[in-house]
Assembly symmetry: C2
Homo-oligomer: 364 residues x 2
């Protein structure tokens, strides 16, 4: 291999593939980035077997070749170099890297030991804008389960309908649904690991489109010069639509900011070992929130739009806050039915998002 | 106690005293802030027995009083309130706190169980500007020892001479000396815990003067409405001036940025378990730096001002970098004598700072 490559471009693309490098792999080859030089292009590949990333950049390739180099060391070196152009040559599995007054010689590994990328059959193709994708990830992944023993719930369900897609995350205490209106013409369900989605959005620029290919075991996201592969989780997801309801006894509008701050203050006295318990009394014009622990108590009052019914209901404040914090509307709508059915939170100006929290049942 | 206090002012002063709250105290009372209300002033006090802070703010005091309240809870509550004015009353050791639509009732403790602040006899008084003090702390505290078994070296020596003060930190591998030109008229030596200095500079605004009072066991820093007490470390410090020298075989000037980056790159292949070893060859116009580990090697070349002598010398790259990183001059001067005596680094435009690093002796 004998190449000349722009340092800034290489730095950018190393950072992209490094999202697929696991910190705790036991396979030494997976600590490496595979570099393929041909046709005046460098192809960088990394994988942790769950996430795989391939990204391309232009380079002057004087002699083609393919090797694997330690990702962390290669990234640290390239990031700390100073000149615009890096000269790289590989002979006898040693990479010689020259840039300005710096010379590095680094051992590399054979590329043919590197695992193959997943095969993808281009079964289903959907285009989603980076903006929508980032919004979906922000509004769902926080609600997935962290319980690895029920692995499907650590992922986000992508429930594809003919005219829309629902992205659904839940953990047994709360559920987040982001709807994306989109003519797909098909029906399908896949479950994407939430970690994949969180890593994906870190490397997507704004204002671009992302093409999704879905096959049996993998989903692939293509954008710019990059292809991002994620395995899918197999298993049966919860039939989430059963939890939704059309009728609410109370639908009341509050300022998102006022409600959030009141719940945050009330939760200062809610103790984690007592389920972060806060009690809400919903009356005609206000929601009263109270909480207490052995060190004291707190009473908060949030003005609401007027409504007829009264209700007492209790929550784990953490689950309420998680869902409220990520909302962007000035006003949000709180929908209650009774003290044992979930609170459903929606945005006043955007009907595509639903956040549902189960109440805590109080003895007596 | 019955008071009205401005929320922003109270928030600011709570943040100041919280610097003296230890995360791991075993005395419950030390998790608290003592609040004294009298003469339309609130006095907040906190101590971890090593650092003590007292700070004052204006308030409307309708009924005087004194209590101790949990620092973290009180701080979290006040920071999350929204209105401008907080109404606080204390009765039967319960603090009632009202602000807007928020009401908190919090248990407090008796103030008479709170430890007294150190007595200070105003023996020695020195004024130092915040700017100088922040520079001293930045350029010395990083070099103190972390070895608690030789406690004096975890502190910074303040070596007061008639016309200047030397602030000295060392750990057996390197030494940092920041000189402050100041007519003190006295001679004295005290050792200040580096943690105290680091906490102190966090709460000092720029562009103010700080008055230092030194007594036998304590040093006190006074500024604005705040008094910061620190215990002193007792014991014999190293006679550091013996390490300094007037004659250098090589005194050569390098770009601070180029030298730092070259050492940083070289240290990418220096292994921590082999003392982060980098080897320098100082010749007429360049310093060549090399390092290697089992995965590869690196060669760096940094242009220097011209000098006659040649020298080979080796260092722990971490100790070199620690001292170079904090310098602000464009050019720095590297002073060598031979391969077993320390490298002395100074700033080209500022003679008040000296950083000294011991070389690593190589076998053979």
């Amino acid at each position: 291999m004998l190449i000349k490559v722009n340092r800034k471009e290489l730095t950018k693309h190393i950072s992209i593939v490094q999202k697929a490098i696991s910190q705790r792999t036991t396979m030494q080859i997976l600590e490496g980035i595979k570099i393929t030089a041909k046709d005046n292009t460098l192809i960088l590949t990394a994988t942790d077997t769950e996430i795989s990333i391939e990204t391309k950049l232009k380079a002057i390739v004087e002699r083609e070749g393919e090797i694997v180099i330690n990702s962390r060391l290669f990234g640290d070196i390239v990031r700390k170099l100073e000149n615009d152009i890096i000269n790289i040559s590989v002979e006898n599995y040693t990479m010689n890297l020259k840039c300005g007054d710096s010379i590095f010689n680094i051992s590399t590994q054979k590329a043919d030991e590197y695992p193959d990328l997943p095969k993808v059959e281009d079964d289903i193709k959907i285009i989603i804008s980076a903006k929508d994708l980032k919004n979906i990830v922000k509004k769902t992944t926080f609600a997935v389960s962290t319980d690895e023993s029920r692995i499907v719930f650590t992922g986000v369900l992508m429930d594809i309908k003919k005219n829309f897609i629902n992205f659904v995350a839940l953990d047994g205490f709360r559920m987040a649904i982001q709807k994306l209106v989109k003519e797909t013409g098909i029906e399908n369900k896949v479950i994407i690991p939430s970690r994949s989605l969180n890593e994906l959005v870190k490397i997507i620029d704004d204002d671009i489109d992302v093409a999704l290919n879905i096959s049996r075991n993998n989903i692939v996201f293509k954008f710019d010069e990059t292809v991002f592969y994620s395995t899918l989780l197999s298993g049966e997801f919860f039939s989430y639509s059963a939890l939704l309801r059309d009728e609410n006894k109370i639908s009341t509008t509050v300022s998102k900011r006022e409600f959030q701050l009141a719940v945050e203050r009330a939760s200062l006295l809610a103790r984690e070992d007592r389920a972060n318990l806060i009690k809400l009394n919903v009356n005609e014009n206000y929601i009263n929130i109270k909480s207490n622990s052995e060190i004291g108590d707190v009473f908060e009052k949030v003005r609401t739009s007027e409504h007829d019914e009264n209700l007492d209901i209790a929550f784990n404040s953490r689950y309420v806050l998680d869902g409220v914090k990520i909302l962007e509307s000035e006003d949000i709508v709180l929908n209650f039915t009774d003290s044992v059915n979930p609170l459903i939170i929606t945005e006043a100006e955007d009907e595509t998002y639903i956040y549902l929290v189960l109440p805590v049942r109080l003895a007596g």
